[in-house]
Symmetry: C2
Subunit: 340 residues, 2 copies
């Protein structure tokens, strides 16, 4: 019970010898079991206390703390809140029903401690991990939330899959915010092939864009895009602080046309109104990327989006049928349902 003196600890391993006569523990230096793993298992599965583990392993408790911390950092352990339950809470059910979604995850409100995009990204990572299977062709657009998702995606071996960039590249004001980076990141986590679109998202005129589109390599990429069976994207507002503007993809001036036509949201660079109608404009002729019609052709279309501003944008996307699965948070879900 009292803290053991530590002066004598090297020589003996009291817990081991008494408990298991026939299987001597490995002598120091010939561990057959990774100590991180050993500690993690005993802690999380067998619910021993850190002190018990420390005795068992013959190190101090503080060391065990470190082991456990490292194991967490290396993602040796995962804590999962059963996603199907979040699927079933009332708000999610209502959204599913109202918009014919196949799946909807509504994560609880956290009192506004962290940005919704971060929390939703993490939730999305868990969801994606769960539904992806080897052989999938996953299209990925970009967004703040998609990026956090990518960063939190657990590692998983899907060697026969590929991750496809569905919108051209653009220079971003923020770090790591380009579509290529999202795609590459996700592909790496999945041990999958990454297929990026070697072209800018927006060109200065339609003729150039058309010429580029006729390039065989680009044609090939677009064939890939149309072969996606799953698609992951964020939803952007058209407000001034929105990422589409901050990233330089679209200038505020250019957006004026769309806004006067009633634009409320942007998916993969394409504007739509609150009814979900795709608003085609001059921008569209200068962009390289998936169209909203293409989006609807993908079997599983997963949107990760949420936050106080995004109500209308998400509502429009839902009405337009651009999604089959929505991952959002509780305030946002309430807002959307309140707008009906």
């Amino acid at each position: 019970m009292a803290l053991r003196s530590r002066t004598k600890d090297k020589a003996e391993r009291p817990a081991a010898t008494e408990a298991d006569g026939r299987t001597p523990l490995p002598r120091p230096g010939e561990y057959l079991t990774d100590p991180l793993l050993w500690a993690s298992w005993l802690y999380h599965h067998d619910e021993l206390t850190q002190s018990q583990i420390a005795d068992l392993m013959g190190v101090s408790r503080a060391t065990v703390v470190n082991y456990l911390q490292q194991a967490r950092d290396l993602h040796y352990v995962k804590v999962v809140v059963r996603p199907e339950l979040l699927n079933s809470i009332d708000l999610a059910q209502q959204l599913k029903q109202a918009f014919g979604l196949a799946e909807c995850m509504v994560i609880p409100f956290d009192g506004g401690m962290r940005p919704p995009s971060e929390r939703i990204g993490r939730a999305g990572a868990q969801y994606l991990d769960q539904i992806l299977t080897n052989g999938d062709v996953l299209g990925v657009a970009w967004g703040r939330t998609v990026l956090t998702l990518a960063e939190n995606l657990p590692e998983k071996a899907m060697p026969d899959s590929c991750v496809v960039q569905v919108i051209g590249s653009q220079r971003s004001a923020y770090d790591g915010f380009t579509a290529e980076e999202c795609v590459a990141f996700i592909a790496r986590r999945l041990h999958a092939r990454s297929i990026s679109l070697h072209a800018p998202a927006a060109l200065s005129n339609a003729a150039l864009r058309d010429a580029l589109m006729r390039e065989p390599t680009i044609q090939e990429q677009f064939a890939r895009i149309r072969s996606c069976n799953k698609l992951l994207f964020g939803i952007c507002t058209v407000k001034a602080n929105s990422l589409v503007f901050a990233s330089g993809l679209i200038s505020v001036d250019e957006s004026k046309y769309y806004i006067t036509k009633g634009a409320v949201g942007v998916i993969a660079g394409r504007f739509y109104d609150v009814e979900g109608n795709w608003l085609r404009g001059s921008m569209d002729d200068r962009m390289i990327g998936i169209t909203l019609d293409d989006v609807r052709a993908v079997p599983a279309r997963i949107a990760v989006a949420g936050g106080p501003d995004k109500t209308d944008a998400i509502l429009g996307a839902l009405r337009g049928g651009y999604l089959t699965a929505l991952i959002t948070d509780e305030p946002t879900a309430r807002n959307i349902l309140g707008r009906l």
Copy 2:
């Protein structure tokens, strides 16, 4: 930073009002979100402290503790130590190599605090959860370890699957130890169909057994058994304290014959020697259940077994090729490898 007084908590919800003006929290009594789920998510995903959660939800911290505990009990959350890592630790690798196993999980030693069957059962539950997919036909034999596995199997929807009892029923000295119960339990957890074998495991003479075997319903069940694509079973020793005797399936007298022929273990009521040869005897002609030849015909054959006595029994089973996946613990793995 200092602990906030709790006397004023009913009236206000400080974190909420400032952070999110447009979405009032539900008034008490109209929670749309299950409080267990809410608390669990904030705790495990957003890493808030229990006090923060208590403030947010407007209850005392102790209540949050209870919520979290309940959520754990109801399996709302899962803590998973990445199983592929246990697959890769040295002992597991050596066993895989030595016996041509497809998978092998070796869980770390816990100092002998809990019975191996309990710990291995839990590990097996996690493994099974991971490899099962909808549509599987899972055969299940019985055993102490299989039962703990069943109890710890997380809930999972596999409506198109079935769980098949591969050995007849028997009265047991222990509670819940019959094959039917294991099967029913697992089936319930998986929302799958449970197919039990309505016949005793052992009859008093071979003629009766043969007559029963000719019954169409029994024939049907056996067709099912042969259609299994996965099989789950425990491994029993032939020592006097073994479950096969305690359960009354086999009498100690009857076992004498097998033991003199060199029996070291029992799988689904069938004896085999240390080389893995099936020892056929008079018992076998009076039993209703899967044979060891049938076992080998199943594509995935998962054994959960471990403990100081079981070394030889497992070794024989490995040599006989009755397993494709073994889940055991570190001392047992060492013993087996030491016996080579």
